[in-house]
Symmetry: C2
Subunit: 182 residues, 2 copies
């Protein structure tokens, strides 16, 4: 289990990733920008940053042993040369979600919504890293970063649509879908 | 469920709380200091600070519904006028702990160690606030703050000793016990 990493996503005029579109899905979107820079570690926003979102990687909150075994057998790291497409999907969950206890959240996330099981169907094509933001007082609760090859873009779109139809998503009160390429 | 609060504990020459002792329990202790200041929100350490520990309050990670109902019926807020004693107990858990999945951690914490059930026996006398530190890259994983009246100091000592005898504590690889009064 890797120790937590602080990560900041800075949108502006510089950065490895070219922003192709920023779509508001639920609630307010984010201002347009041309590029996105992803910094690991505690970073001061660069001077041209239009907006910055911060989070940290952490231990898993819901995955059980059999699921971790299944995930680690097929999941891929970030930075694969062929994975020239990316998505950054910031979401915020409602007060009703945060009022649930741990076991109730697990019940909605996996028993009702099969979030882990559905995600597994899209591995190894889609690499994923989850960042927690809520505990930093940020505007979103989670920032999920995905990387995939252009040939897998259709499969990724399908994954996102399937998750948005779940019971879990009834607890999402803000979502922005940012697509990028390098 | 209150939103997360950033909290910093700054030990030095100023602060509401007088430090009575700093005992290393497992691994390295912390440097001596006279006073402790507790700041809510993101705070720059004051110039006399000898050491600063940072954390954030967050959603519960293990408590189930029936336990939350039992806890909220009796737990008390911080800042009670009669609660002039306090303890700050920073702990770090081992890599073996963080390799466990959520369900395995719950199994150790409550099924084997009855952490929640034992803690409940000492309510309402002892007020408690848990702060998460690991995700900030801090030297400890958790900072727990307790407040109680002088007459309940013996009960508090008993609580701490009972927790240290549990299976859960075999995963603690650093612990410092700081006692304070105001």
């Amino acid at each position: 289990m890797a120790p937590p990493i602080a990560v900041s996503f800075q949108a502006g005029d510089i950065g490895t990733w070219r922003i192709e579109r920023i779509d508001p899905v639920i609630g307010d979107g984010l201002p347009p920008a041309k590029h996105l820079a992803v910094f690991e570690g505690t970073e001061t926003p660069h001077s041209s940053a239009r907006w910055t979102l911060r989070g940290f990687t952490s231990n898993e909150r819901y995955v059980e042993r059999h699921e971790r075994v299944a995930l680690t057998a097929v999941q891929q790291p970030l930075g694969r040369p062929a994975a020239t497409c990316a998505a950054l999907i910031p979401i915020r969950k409602s007060d009703a979600w945060w009022e649930l206890t741990q076991d109730e959240r697990r019940e909605v996330l996996e028993m009702q919504s099969q979030h882990i099981k559905v995600g597994l169907e899209y591995l190894p094509a889609v690499a994923r890293r989850l960042h927690h933001s809520r505990d930093l007082g940020e505007p979103f609760d989670f920032l999920t970063w995905f990387e995939y090859a252009p040939a897998d873009a259709g499969a990724f779109d399908e994954l996102v649509l399937r998750l948005r139809e779940t019971d879990e998503w009834s607890f999402v009160d803000r979502e922005v879908d940012i697509r990028l390429a390098r």
